[in-house]
């Protein structure tokens, strides 16, 4: 057997670093389907999983890939799939099943420009609202946005930990640029990597209820074959997992699956502040765009503009409180993202009309240059 954790210094693409992060987190099952620019994640997993005792399978489509990782999760494994826009659309159906059956798993979307087939080899950040609302019905989701190969390594571990802790599919919203760039990635010693696994049930097996919340609002989760005889359904169900077709049952179930996220925002949401202490203009960005925004903030500071950056590491649930507080301190906000205004809408909502919020975005296909952000910052101070 080879090692799951490749401790040491590496030069890796974001896609490969993501696969290594998954293995370091304890992932032992990957159900995939090829798609540019996410294929390298599947390729790496197909090579690495069998040598550490895990299983890789290339399914017949992304619908099946998503279904397979839910099945394998109920077999007790940590599971993942990776895709891009068109595949992400196909996965929406079973992401919903994962949410309502409270099934831990990780879904990586290496975003490319859409709609439809779009620009398959060129990056974008235009699936952010799909990540939030793409599956039907109302729900909460967790989505992270990595800005570099090193960060996606750690975020993948974090994604597994959050999915196991909260029994929920966690999305990693990468993009073609991060996925295909090669950079230095340090992989720490195995003992220094914190991993979380779902809570195992205790007590009498015949009385166990697979959806009865524990202290943090999340129910312990057994695996098939352990003797708990669980029933798991996509229908509205009670704590026992039995279908109940009533308004009351719907309300109770929805309160459970949304409440476990809404009540733990402090534990889930992570953001990073850069030069915001005395800032008058705040740039809000995430993923690869937060890197170009960082350069722009430094450049603006050199020009005497009091700019700062709030980098969203967790995009969903949305860091509402962080944005609200910031909106009380700064005069303007600029959202930087590779789309025509998605997260910008959320920032505007949270700013609540208190201050102007503008967008630096484009239709997709390349990064947003720091110059464009600097130009917007200059414009902001002059107007």
């Amino acid at each position: 057997m080879k090692q799951a954790v490749l401790t040491g210094e590496h030069f890796l693409t974001g896609d490969v670093a993501c696969a290594e992060g998954a293995l370091a987190a304890g992932c032992l099952f990957f159900g995939g389907y090829p798609i540019t620019p996410a294929t390298e994640i599947a390729e790496r997993m197909s090579e690495r999983l069998p040598e550490i005792g895990g299983t890789f399978i290339q399914m017949e489509d992304e619908i099946a890939a998503m279904a397979s990782i839910l099945g394998a999760s109920w077999a007790g494994k940590k599971t993942m799939t990776a895709t891009s826009g068109p595949g992400f659309s196909l996965m929406m159906e079973n992401i919903g099943l994962g949410i309502v059956t409270e099934t831990p798993c990780v879904v990586v979307n290496v975003q490319r420009a859409g709609p439809s087939t779009g620009l398959p080899t060129q990056g974008a950040q235009a699936d952010m609202m799909q990540a939030r609302w793409g599956s039907h019905g109302h729900y909460e989701i967790i989505a992270l946005a990595p800005a570099s190969p090193q960060e996606i390594f750690y975020q993948t571990i974090e994604a597994f930990n959050l999915s196991e802790k909260y029994r929920i599919p966690v999305l990693i919203m990468s993009d073609e640029i991060v996925g295909h760039m090669s950079e230095r990635v340090s992989i720490p010693a195995e003992k220094d990597i914190v991993t979380v696994s779902r809570t195992a049930p205790k007590g009498r097996k015949d009385r166990f209820k697979p959806f009865q919340p524990g202290p943090n609002g999340v129910a312990p989760m057994p695996a098939a074959g352990q003797g708990y005889n669980v029933h798991i359904t996509g229908l509205t169900h009670d704590e026992k997992g039995y279908p109940v077709m009533t308004v009351e049952a719907q309300e109770e179930m929805m309160a459970r699956i949304t409440g476990k996220i809404r009540r733990n925002l402090d534990d889930i949401i992570r953001t990073e502040s850069y030069r915001l202490e005395d800032a008058e203009i705040a740039v809000i960005s995430y993923g690869v765009s937060s890197r170009t925004s960082l350069a722009a903030v430094d450049e603006a500071r050199n020009l005497g503009i009091k700019a700062g950056l709030l980098r969203l590491i967790t995009v969903w649930p949305f860091p509402e409180e962080q944005i609200r507080q910031l909106a009380r301190r700064v005069k303007k906000m600029i959202t930087v993202e590779i789309n025509l205004g998605q997260i910008c809408l959320e920032v505007q909502r949270c700013a609540g009309g208190r201050i102007p919020v503008t967008l630096v975005g484009h239709a997709g296909g390349t990064i947003i240059s720091p110059e464009r952000v600097v130009a917007e910052l200059k414009e902001a101070v002059s107007s």
Binding site: M1, F29, G31, S46, P50, E51, T55, F56, I57, M59, E60, D61, I63, A64, A65, A67, S68, I69, L70, G71, A72, S73, W74, A75, G76, K77, T79, E93, N94, G96, L97, A223, A224, G225, G227, Y228, N229, V230, H231, I232, T233, G234, L235, Y242, P243
Partner: protein
């Protein structure tokens, strides 16, 4: 009257230990054949001698898809058409499990058709039981990929212009290693076939013709009892028949039997041999 009746202690059903009795009564209509297939399945499971704790049932959506909700073992009622890929993950995640997919023709062969052929191709170790009632029962009787040519459904009010699948032939062409077809009138044969399928490794497929009097029968002048009569009159048992020659012709004859029972390395065996360099 009803109150008095409910106070009378019901005798225990011989399959109670395999049923979620707290979920009975089930939703199936009077005259429906699904319950018969379901009880054949449970009898086969119970008598198989296999460890039931290591058995799991996966269903899709539809009337037959509700089976997973009544069986007292690990059971998964998934999304429409996706029982097989979910079951594939479950089996690969823990190869010790004996995974049974119990679902309907609409679920397995229209929306789920792609998953069926690929699971058969890779000889995934699953037992797939398809209750074929020739239409979509749950949604009120629409045309399915199995609806006979010219049969009436709510979406083919003038008669079905299309041709149905021959399911055993499809399974055969795709690579299944155990294939049977029965009707709910042939419960002994069916139970025996399920028992065999449970013990076979690889992809096993059993089609069971089953009446849907409420939706299909009603529109095709076929009462529940007529369907059974049809199964009796037109059913021709030909074990070992070539799947390309078997018929499902309600005028000429319906070929039933165990059509295939061969050994071919399973998906997991091949993966271990090819990919694990231990």
């Amino acid at each position: 009257m009803i109150e008095t009746a409910s106070r009378i202690k019901q005798p225990e059903h011989p399959l109670d230990d395999l049923l979620r009795t707290d979920r009975i009564p089930h939703i199936w209509c009077p005259g429906c054949g699904i319950g018969t297939v379901f009880s054949s399945c449970l009898i086969a499971m119970k008598n198989s001698g296999l460890n039931l704790q290591k058995m799991a049932m996966v269903s899709g959506i539809g009337c037959s898809g509700r089976a997973a909700g009544y069986v007292a073992m690990d059971s998964f009622h998934t999304t429409h058409g996706r029982a097989i890929p979910f079951a594939t993950g479950l089996k690969l995640g823990n190869p010790e499990l004996n995974v049974v997919v119990f679902s309907g023709d609409g679920d397995l062969f229209a929306i789920g058709g792609n998953h069926f052929i690929h699971a058969a191709r890779r000889n995934m170790d699953l037992t797939v039981i398809c209750v074929n009632n020739l239409n979509y029962g749950m949604t009120g009787g629409q045309m399915a990929a199995t609806t006979p040519h010219l049969a009436k459904t709510t979406t083919t009010p003038m008669g079905n212009p299309e041709a149905p699948f021959n399911l055993p032939l499809l399974a055969y062409a795709a690579g299944a290693t155990y294939i049977s077809r029965w009707t709910i009138l042939h419960t002994r044969d069916l139970t025996r076939s399920i028992d065999t399928a449970l013990k076979r490794k690889g992809f096993s497929f059993i089609e069971v013709l089953s009446p849907c009097p409420v939706n299909y029968g009603r529109r095709n002048k076929e009462k529940a009892f007529d369907s059974l009569k049809l199964y009796q009159d037109k059913g021709i048992i030909k074990n070992g028949a070539n799947p390309s020659e078997i018929e499902m012709d309600f005028e000429k004859g319906i070929t039933l039997g165990d059509f295939l029972d061969v050994d071919r390395p399973t998906c997991i065996e091949q993966y271990d041999k090819t990919c694990r360099l231990i």
